[in-house]
Symmetry: C5
Subunit: 325 residues, 5 copies
C-alpha cells in the first residue's frame, strides 16, 4: 500500500498534482535540489514493479525489498543506495522483542521507503522531518539519516528493556525461591541473538558513512552518521555484556540447583533420623528377652515414649544447630 | 558418466554433431562469445583424462575433481577457474544433512561441471538457464553464477530445516517430559559443523567475485555474485546463531536433568516418609511393656491402624502442600 | 553548576575580571598561547547552552555532554576535540565499583570540563596543575593529559581493589566452610564488565594520541600519552585475567559443591548404618521363635544391647577409618 | 648417521666418487642446475658440524637442527631456507599419535635433510622422486615440495585416524553401557593439540610459498605448494571440528552421567520400596494388641505373607509401568 | 645498589679508574664503538636519579624503572630504548612460579640494567658475555640480545616445569584415588596467567627486532632476535596448550566427581539392602500370629538366621556381580 508520496523543494513539502497518495501519475520532474519521497507499507508486487520502473531500481534490490526476511545491509546499485534495516521493538505484555523491516532506496533526487510489518512508524518520522526544513534541505541523505537515527533509537530502547529483563532474571536466580530460570534465560538469549543480528551488520556501513567514505555524504551529514554509529556501538556493547551476564547467571542458576539439592538431601536425612532413631528404640523394647527390667516398670511405657521423644528432640536440636534443618 | 554436452551461441543451445552426449568427438571450435558446456556425473578416470586433454586442464585440478572429499575452494590455474562446491540437502526422513560435491572448470570458452553424489541437479539448472538466453549470453561466468546461486539456495533451505530442528529440540528440552535430548543436540551440532565446512570457505572468494576483483567478471555479473555472497553470509549467521542456541539449550538440558533429579529425590523421600512413620507406630505397639493401656483397649488395634493412616494422610497433605509430591 | 573559570597565560593562572566563577561575562580574549579553562559540574541545560555559544561547540557534542550515560569516546568536531571519560571509583563499604562521567571539550585556546556525578575531583587536578606551570605551558593538551592520567590512575586503583576482591573470593571458594560464592562471583563479574566498558573504548584513541597521530599533540606530549595508554593496557590485562580467574573459581566452586554433596551423602549413609544395624539386631531378638536360647539367658538383654552398641562401634570405627565420617 | 648422499644432474642421480654414503670427501662441485642432496638421520654433533662447514649453514639453524624439540617454522638465513617440520604418524596398537621431526636446509644447489626419530621415511621419498626426473629438474625446491607433500599427506592420514577415534568415542558416549569416556576424550584432546601444534605454524609459510612470495619458487612450483597449503588447511579444519565435537561429546558424557545417576536413584528407591512396605506390614502384625482378629485366623500368617507379596507385586508393577525399574 | 660498572672497548672489558663498582665519578668518555654497562639491583631513588642524569634518560622511563610492577614493554625515548622484562623462575619446593623484573636502558654507547627482586642473575650473563668478545663487539644491542635470550630461556624452563605439573595433575585427575584437584588446577591456571602476562607483550616487539624494523639492529643481530622471538612463540604455544588441557582436565575432574558420587550411591544402596532385607525377615518372624509353624520348629531360630544370612549372601553375590559393590 502506498502510504504517502510528496515532493520536497528547499526542505518544504510541495503538494503534488491532486495530492493523491497513490502513484497514478508518472514521476514528478524535479528541480535540482528537490526530491520526491514515496512511502510504501507491505508492498504488493505491482506496487514494487511500478516504483522500480519510476525510479529505475535494480531488479535484485527490488526483489530483496519484496521479501521481509533479509539481513540488514547497505548496498550500492549504480547511483542508488539500497538499505535494509531491521526494526526492533519491545512488547511489554509478552516481554518479547519483535522485528520488522524497512527498505530504503536513496537516489539523487528521490527516496523510497518500504516498510514490512509493524514497528517504527515512518509517518511520524516524516512529520517530524517536515517540521525541520533546515534538515530536509540536505536532501535524501537527511531522510536516510533521520530514519536510521529513529531505528537505532528504537534499538537502544530495546537494549534498555532487555537490561531490565536481565536484572529481573538475576534477582530471580539469586532469590531463595525455587525458580525455573533456565527457560527465561534461554528466551532472553534468543532475543539477544535477534538484536545482534539486526545491529551487527549495520555497524560497518554506518562507520563508513560516519567516516565520509561515500561521495553523496557531506561533512555535516557525516557528523550525524557518527552519532548513529556511536549509538549502534553502544547497543552492541550492551548486548554483548548482557549475553555474558546471562551466561554467568545461568552458571549461577546451575550452582543454585546443586546447592538446593544438597540442602534438600540434608533436610531429608535429618527428617529421616527423627523417625529412624525412635524406631530403633521401639525395636529394642519389642525384643522378647525374659529379663528386661524396663518392661515391668509401671511407667516403662511412658519411659520408652519419653526416650523416643527425647532422642528425636536431641536430634532436632542438633540438626537445627548444624543447619541441616 | 558424461551427462550432457552442448555448444551455446549467443545464449542459445546449438546441437552438436550427432548431438550425442558422449564426448566421442574432439573439442568443438568456438566463435568468439560461444562456449561449450560439458556435464559429468561421478566421473571415471578415463572421462576426466579425456576432458583434461580437451580443455587443457591442470593435472592438480583434475586430480582434485576426481576426489569427492575436497574442501570448498576457488582456485585459478592460468586462464581457468576451478571451483569446488559442497552441495548440501536435507533428508526429511532422517532429519539429516547429506553432502555431495560439484567441481567446476570455468574457461574463457568452456564450462565443465563434475558432480559427485546426489544433491543439486545440474540438469535442471541447465534447463532453466537455457530458457534465459539473455543470461547465458554473459558466457561461462553466467553459468558459474547460476550454479553457485542454486547451491547456495540449497544451503538456505538446509539452514531453514536446521532452524526447525533446533525449534523442536528447544521444545523438547523445555517440555515437562523426560527426554534424552543430548544425542539429538549432538547430532545437530555435527550437522551444523558440516554446513559450516561447506559455507565458510566460499565466503571469501564469493566476496571477491562480488567486489569485481576478477578480470573476467563484469560489473553486471559482480552484482549477481554480491547476491550470492549476501546469501552465504546469511546462512553462516543463521548457522552461528543456531550453534550458540544449541549450546545454551544443552546447558538448559543439563539444568533440567538436575532439577528433575532434585524433584525425584524429594518425591522419593516423601514417599518413604509415608511408610516409615507408620512403621514407627507399629514398632511402638510391638513393644512388650507390661503396662501399655492401648494394647488392652477393645478398639486398640483399630486405633493404631487409624493412627498410622492418619499420620500418613497428614504427611501426604503436608508434602502435597509443599510441592514435594 | 559552574565550578571554576580561569585564564592561563604562560602556564600561570590569571585572575579574570571580578574572578567570579560564574560565566556572567563574554568569552575572554586570549593572547596566542593562552587558554581559558571552564569547569562545570552536573550542568543545567542553560549552562551548556551558554558554554556552547561561548566556544562555538557542535550541538551533537553538547547534547552528549548533557547526558551522563555516554560510552567513552574521543571525537573531533572541526578544531575541537570532544572526550567522554568514565570515572570509576571503588567504594570500600559496599565492595562496589561506582561510575561517573567527565566530558572534555579541548579547543585551541580553551578547555571545558563537564563532570557528572561523583568520582575524580577535577578541582584537585586543577590545583595540582597550577603548581606545575611548566606543564600548563603546553596548553589545553596538557590539561587533557592531566585529566586522562588522573582518571586512568583511578582505574588502576579500582583494578587493584578488584584483585583483592578476587583474592577474597578465591580464599572463600577453597575454604572448607560452606560458602555461597556464586552471588559474589556474579557481582564481581558485573563490576568487571563495568570497568571493561570504561577502559576498552579509550585504548584505541589513547594509542593514537601516543603515536602522535593528532596534529595538536607534540612529541613531548605524545610521550606522556604513551604512559596513559600503557596504564590503560595494564588495567585491561588485569581485568581480563581477573575475569578468567573468576570463571575458573566459579568452576571450582561448582566442583566444591559436588564434592560436598558427595561427602554429605557418605556421612549421612554412615550415620544411617549406625542406626539400621542395631535395628536389625533388635528385630532378630523380637522374633517369636519358641527356641531362642539367648532370650532366656540372665544377661540376654545386656548381651543384645552390647551387641548393638558393639556393632555400631565397629561400624563407627570402620567409617572413621575409611573417611566417611 | 649419514644415510644417503648424491648429486643430481638434470633430475638424474649421478654416482658420487666411490658412491659412499659417508661424507668423507669435500663438497661436490656442481654445474649450474645440479644439486647435491645429503640425508642424515639422528645426527651427531660432528656430522652437523661437517655439514654446516660444507654448505656454510648458519650456526643458529644448525643448533636448531640438532635439537628435536623445535616448533615447525620456515626461516631464511641468507640464501638458505631452513624448515622445521613435525612428522606425525598414528600408531594403531596404542591409538596414539607419535611425532618426529624433519629439518631441511634448502640452498641454491643443495638440500640437506635431517630426520629425528621415526615417522615419514625420506628414503622412500627420495626413491619416488628419482623415478620422476621431470620433477627433480626443478631442483631443490622440488625436493622441498616433495617432502612437504609427504609430511602433510601423513597429517591427513592422522586426521582421518583421529576422526575414526572420535566416532568411536561418540558411539561409546551414546551407548547405554557405563563407560569411562573422560580419559579417552582427554587423551584425544591432547593428541589433537599435538597435531595442531604441528600443523598451524606451517600454514602461513606454505600459503606464502603458494602465493609465490619467494624468489626461488617459480609459478609452476607455487601451484604445487598451493596444493600443500590446501591440504594443511583441510587438516586444520578437520582438527578444529573434531576438537569442538569432542567438547560437545564431553558435555553429553556429563549429561549421561547425571541421567544415569538419576536412573540409578530411581531404581534404588523402587527397590527399597519393595522391602520397606512388607516390613511395615510385618510391623503391624507384630503389634501386641489384645484384639487383633487376623492374628487368630487359621490362615492369618499366610494372609500376612500374601499381603506382603501382594503389596510388593503391586509396587513392582507400578514401578515397571512408570519406568522406575 | 650499583652492582657493576664497566667500559667495553672492542668487546673487551676495560678497567675503569679505580675500578670501583660505585658511580662516584662522572660518565666515562667513550671512543666510537665503545660502550659503558652499568648494572643496578633494587635501585634507590638516588641511584636512579644519578643514572638518569649521567645518561640523560627520560623521566617517565626512570619512573617506570623505579617501580617493580610494570608490564613488559619496549619503548623508545629519543635515541634510547627502554625495555621492561618480567623474569620468571620456578621454585621447586613450592611448585610455584615467581616473578622479578629487569629494566634495560639501551643507548648508542651505554647499557643500564636495573634488576628488581631475584631471578635471572645478570652478573652471570655479563661474565658469559665477557668471554665472547666477538659478540660484545656488536655493542649495546648484543647485551640486549644476551639478556633477552637469558630471560626467555628461563621462560622455557618455567614452561617445561609447568608441563610437568600439568602431567602430575592429569595423573591425579585420572587416578582412582579421591583427590582434590580443583585447588591445584586453579593454582596452575593462575601461574599460567602470570607467565602469559610476562610473555605476550614481548612477542610483538621481539618480532619487530627480528624483522630488523629498528635502525640500530643490523641483519646479523636481527637473526639472533629471530631466535628469541621463536622461543617466545614456543613458550606462548606451550602455555596456551597447557591452559586448554587444564580446562579439559578440570571438566574430567568434574565428571570424575559425578561418577564417584554415583558409585558411592550404588555402594551405599547395596550396603543398605544387605541390612534391610534381613530386617524384613526378622519383622516377619516377629509377627504374633497364632499359627506360624516355623516359630515352633526346633531349629526355627537357626532357620531364620540362616534365611537372613542367606538372603544377604545372595544379595552380596548379586551386587558384586553387577558391580555395585
Amino acid at each position: 500500500m502506498i502510504v504517502d508520496n510528496a515532493l520536497y523543494h528547499d526542505g518544504v513539502r510541495v503538494a503534488l498534482d491532486g495530492d493523491d497518495p497513490s502513484l497514478g501519475h508518472a514521476r514528478v520532474p524535479c528541480d535540482p535540489g528537490d526530491f520526491q519521497w514515496v512511502g510504501i507499507h507491505d508492498p504488493t508486487d505491482d506496487e514494487l514493479a511500478l516504483i522500480a520502473k519510476m525510479f529505475d531500481l535494480h531488479p535484485l534490490a527490488v526483489e530483496d525489498a519484496g521479501d521481509s526476511h533479509q539481513r540488514p545491509k547497505v548496498e550500492r546499485y549504480g547511483d542508488t543506495l539500497f538499505l535494509v534495516l531491521k526494526t526492533l521493538w519491545y512488547v511489554d505484555d509478552q516481554d518479547a522483542v519483535e522485528t520488522g523491516e524497512i527498505n530504503l532506496f536513496i537516489g539523487r533526487d528521490f527516496v523510497v521507503t518500504v516498510r514490512h510489518g509493524q514497528g517504527v512508524n515512518l509517518a511520524d518520522s516524516r512529520r517530524d522531518l517536515e517540521q525541520r526544513a533546515k534538515v530536509l534541505e540536505h536532501g535524501p541523505m537527511a531522510v536516510m539519516y533521520a530514519i536510521c537515527d529513529r531505528v537505532v533509537d528504537e534499538y537502544e530502547r530495546v537494549g534498555a528493556a532487555l537490561e531490565e529483563d536481565v536484572d529481573e532474571v538475576e534477582e530471580s536466580v539469586f532469590s531463595p525461591a525455587r525458580t525455573n530460570d533456565s527457560v527465561r534465560i534461554y528466551t532472553l538469549k534468543r532475543e539477544i541473538a535477534e538484536v545482534r543480528r539486526a545491529v551487527l551488520p549495520l555497524r560497518e556501513p554506518m562507520r563508513r558513512f560516519a567516516a565520509g567514505q561515500h561521495e553523496s555524504i557531506d561533512d555535516e551529514t557525516a557528523t550525524y552518521f557518527r552519532d548513529v554509529a556511536d549509538h549502534l556501538q553502544r547497543v552492541s556493547e550492551v548486548i554483548d555484556t548482557l549475553d555474558n551476564l546471562l551466561s554467568t547467571a545461568f552458571d549461577a542458576h546451575l550452582a543454585r540447583i546443586s546447592v538446593q539439592q544438597n540442602e534438600d538431601m540434608r533436610k531429608i536425612s535429618a527428617g529421616a533420623a527423627l523417625v529412624v532413631v525412635p524406631t530403633l528404640i521401639a525395636g529394642v523394647y519389642g525384643m522378647n528377652f525374659d529379663h528386661m527390667p524396663e518392661l515391668h516398670w509401671t511407667y516403662g511405657y511412658a519411659f520408652a515414649i519419653a526416650l523416643m521423644v527425647g532422642a528425636s528432640a536431641v536430634l532436632l536440636w542438633f540438626f537445627k544447630k548444624s543447619g541441616w534443618l
